[in-house]
């Protein structure tokens, strides 16, 4: 029979995933204060719903809540007209969405929103991915989630995880190739 789990147990199981949670939130929200707010709200929700945690994979469980909290917050801001939806910049079938996006410099997030100290070519490249590709790359490469866990967190089929991951990697290879980084290297 389910016992009301204690706050201490919640902290023991879930707080170790605070860094992963904050990182995912940063990749989605793109602003430290928004990311922190989202993580705080997500952890409160996770705590309230902790009795529903089955005990199998705490990181995946809490990251799903973090992701949902971020998306809710982003949608709300979009409704208020504060943030232009990145998805709105794209149209057509999924296969064609990613390509024009990558070449649309206008679609880059406002440089002011990016923490300057963390400016990094790899970060820039990941930021240029559409959000539903970006989150899958982050979950796979940084959080080392399995395809199935990513599918659970992002609520898409495993096949979609695989195809998005593959397209995102091709795009990242293109963005991070010496040709693309051109200027700096040729001067050497």
């Amino acid at each position: 029979m389910a016992r009301r789990r204690s706050r201490a147990e919640f902290e023991r199981v879930m707080l170790p995933h605070l860094e992963a949670s904050y990182n995912l939130a940063m990749w989605l929200m793109r602003h430290p204060q928004d990311a922190e707010d989202a993580v705080q709200t997500a952890y409160l929700r996770a705590h309230n719903g902790f009795d529903r945690f089955q005990g199998d994979h705490a990181a995946a469980w809490v990251l799903k809540i973090v992701r949902n909290t971020c998306l809710t917050s982003l949608n709300r801001n979009t409704d208020r007209g504060k943030v232009v939806s990145l998805d709105a910049a794209m149209s057509g079938s999924e296969a064609h969405r990613i390509v024009p996006f990558l070449h649309d410099k206008q679609a880059l997030p406002d440089a002011n929103l990016i923490v300057e100290q963390e400016r990094n070519l790899v970060h820039d490249a990941i930021r240029r991915l559409p959000p539903d590709y970006r989150e899958i790359v982050v979950l796979r490469e940084f959080e080392e989630m399995t395809y199935q866990q990513i599918a659970d967190i992002t609520e898409v089929p495993v096949g979609t995880v695989m195809s998005r991951l593959s397209r995102a990697r091709k795009a990242l290879r293109e963005l991070l190739s010496p040709d693309e980084l051109g200027g700096q290297r040729n001067e050497l």
Partner: protein, 250 residues
């Protein structure tokens, strides 16, 4: 295995998602194919590049802020009415259920253990959706709806604005549950209407969110030190639970 097949499996291979037999087949092909080896190197190089990238630095304040908010939420004691302890074995042991239910019902009557008036809640919900009786005050403004109850019932319910979380308020009314007038707030989630019944709590029961279904309606109940809350809707349980969590968090 040819090149096309191999190329499709290189990423699952690198991600550790390829079953052993397919791994062998891919490796066999790779041994004799420099083009596919090249592709594999590219995939691995990208992975190395990504993994060298710095992580976002977690602000120092985050851990203490999270713990503080959880502590605040946990200070409200847990709500677990004794009937859930009875109910769960009843459901799992179907054979005993019938006999048990009779006894269980008797026990409730005798000891007046707290029990959710499921039929009453469903009936009140359905009634509210008929004949346009859903709201007596129609407004999405909490400052219009909350004062409206003054003088109509003998308590002042808290009216939360959850529109930012996708649960716009559409109004309220006075309803009748458990032999008394109660406040009913009406929220919307897409096309689904949610009735949130609020009634004063006198007993000092512990508090925990409980959820169940009846006739296709989902119901979530919780309690704070002043009130008992029942949220009911044909909305799925997950979103209704989110609604309750937002209400609790406010």
């Amino acid at each position: 295995m040819n090149c096309d097949e191999t190329l499709n499996l290189l990423e699952p291979l690198v991600d550790g998602e390829l079953p052993g037999r397919e791994q062998d087949a891919v490796r066999l092909h790779l041994d004799g194919c420099s083009a596919c080896q090249h592709e594999l190197r590219q995939i691995n190089e990208l992975r190395e590049t990504l993994r060298r990238a710095p992580r976002h630095a977690v602000p120092d304040s985050l851990l203490s802020n999270v713990r503080e908010r959880i502590a605040k939420a946990a200070d409200q004691p847990a709500f677990r009415p004794s009937w859930t302890r009875w109910m769960k074995p009843l459901v799992t042991h179907a054979a005993a259920a019938l006999v048990g239910a009779v006894f269980f019902y008797g026990a409730i009557q005798m000891f007046s253990a707290p029990t959710p008036p499921t039929r009453e809640i469903v009936a009140a919900h359905v009634r509210s959706l008929m004949d346009g009786r859903l709201t007596q005050v129609s407004s999405n403004d909490t400052h219009t709806v909350a004062p409206w109850f003054a003088g109509k019932i003998d308590f002042a319910p808290t009216v939360n604005d959850l529109s930012a979380d996708g649960f716009p308020l559409i109004g309220g009314r006075v309803d009748y549950l458990q032999d008394r007038k109660v406040a009913a707030l009406v929220y919307l989630r897409r096309k689904h209407r949610i009735n949130l019944f609020i009634l004063p709590t006198s007993a000092k029961q512990t508090e925990e969110t409980i959820e169940w279904s009846h006739n296709g309606y989902n119901i979530v109940g919780w309690r704070d030190k002043n009130f008992t809350y029942w949220a009911i809707s044909d909305l799925n349980l997950e979103e209704l639970t989110a609604f309750s969590e937002l209400s609790v968090a406010m």
